[in-house]
């Protein structure tokens, strides 16, 4: 019997994005973060047999000159916000930390956006 594999993502918003918290120099109380966001607000993940490709929402990270991407504790490095990042594909829970950098590669405030998502395969 043919098995249908479906990959689903669920996202939990743990911290603010640079866009939501404002850019450099902005002060004052921050609006309460929405409890949930869709993945496309921060990133979109597409899955191949060996690799997962993370594409970041350029609008969300428009204040960032670059992003440093830490996926499941591994630093995948420095990319432009429009550049997709390929990571090893594993089914299960993942943590993605996105550090917003200025042109000097200094981390902007807020220091990072962290999302946790679970990739599940259902039959």
């Amino acid at each position: 019997m043919r098995q249908l594999l479906t990959t689903t993502l669920s996202l939990t918003f743990l911290s603010c994005t640079p866009h939501r918290c404002g850019g450099r120099g902005e002060v004052g109380p921050l609006p309460p973060p929405a409890p949930y966001v869709t993945d496309d607000n921060i990133f979109h993940a597409s899955h191949g047999p060996k690799l997962t490709t993370l594409q970041f929402n350029p609008n969300t990270f428009s204040v960032c000159a670059g992003l440093e991407v830490v996926y499941d504790g591994t630093d995948y490095g420095l990319v432009l916000p429009t550049t997709p990042v390929h990571v090893t594909h594993n089914v299960g829970k993942h943590t993605l930390e996105i550090r917003c950098l200025n042109e000097e590669s200094e981390t902007l405030i807020p220091p990072s956006t962290t999302v946790e998502y679970e990739e599940r395969i259902t039959q």
Partner: protein, 290 residues
């Protein structure tokens, strides 16, 4: 205006770091729209000593140190159209950091036609040039010639054969050789000289023996020879030194790709060399496409 040829530039690259900057300055001087290109060169070869050491920390410190993000954004290049050949222990092309690019590869290891890296050194070097996230010129075209085996050992004949193969490629721009030995190979020297005559820049490691004793190919006159600095911008304790050195680059605890989809911080003039190659790839890219 004086017309400066590519060969003039390569000849000049034998000198010290300031001479390298001057050479590039002259190189772009004869091209149209000089001003922007001069700014590029000045940014690419920043005075490393002017960068506060406090910034040199974290896994990506060398990219931060070289202001790579600013170079990408200001000049709109990430190595596109630059053709770089790495002569090393091959490449683990299954690493996620290479998923965005197609690598041309060939083995020159006697009796071992596999091009896949089983040592780790070549994967690290290739990653520092073209690896997504860790490389300085992630969009350059990479050719990986495997001349070192799983133990990191190889023959000068294998390296010479790889150099000969580069010579047959009229589109080659840069060769990275993060390898060497105290023994001078006349065949290697001949091919390197021919490559330089043809306008290819051969970037070679100075060696890790804290000595000025010659180390080849880095001590060949035609090579652009790279020594390593530490986080205080001083000579790394292991780095070779002396008149053969043309330029220095960060070479302590630098972060790049490794076997089995991992990343690793390694030290050596082998690590400093692809940093210079990557920067030159950005320069080649800029001169070609902008």
């Amino acid at each position: 205006m004086k017309n400066v040829s590519h060969n003039d530039v390569v000849k000049s690259l034998k000198k010290k770091q300031d001479k390298v900057r001057d050479a590039h300055f002259k190189y772009v001087e004869h091209l149209e729209t000089e001003a922007k290109k001069q700014v590029f060169i000045e940014n690419a070869f920043i005075d490393w000593k002017s960068v506060p050491s406090a910034k040199v920390q974290g896994p990506l410190h060398d990219l931060e140190y070289m202001k790579v993000l600013a170079l990408w954004r200001h000049f709109g290049v990430q190595g596109q159209s630059a053709n770089v050949t790495v002569i090393d222990s091959g490449i683990d092309f299954e690493h996620p950091a290479f998923a965005h690019t197609e690598v041309i590869d060939e083995s020159f290891v006697k009796g071992d036609p596999s091009t896949k890296d089983t040592n780790g050194h070549g994967t690290w070097v290739c990653g520092k040039i073209v690896g997504q996230g860790v490389g300085i010129a992630p969009l350059c075209n990479l050719t990986s010639y495997r001349t070192l085996d799983a133990n990191g050992s190889g023959t000068s004949d294998a390296s010479a054969a790889a150099l000969k193969q580069v010579l047959a490629d009229p589109t080659a721009n840069l060769v990275n050789m993060s390898l060497g030995s105290p023994y001078r190979s006349t065949e290697q020297e001949r091919f390197i000289n021919e490559l330089v005559k043809a306008g290819v820049i051969v970037v070679a490691a100075a060696g890790n023996y804290d000595t000025s004793v010659p180390f080849y190919p880095g001590s060949f006159e035609s090579c652009l020879t790279v020594s390593a600095t530490n986080s205080t911008q001083a000579k790394a304790y292991f780095s070779n030194y002396g008149g053969q050195i043309d330029i220095a680059a960060p070479g302590v605890a630098c972060y790049s790709t490794y076997l089995n989809s991992q990343f690793r911080a390694l030290s050596g003039t082998s690590m400093a060399t692809p940093i210079v190659t990557g920067l030159l790839a950005l320069g080649v890219s800029y001169l070609k496409i902008v």
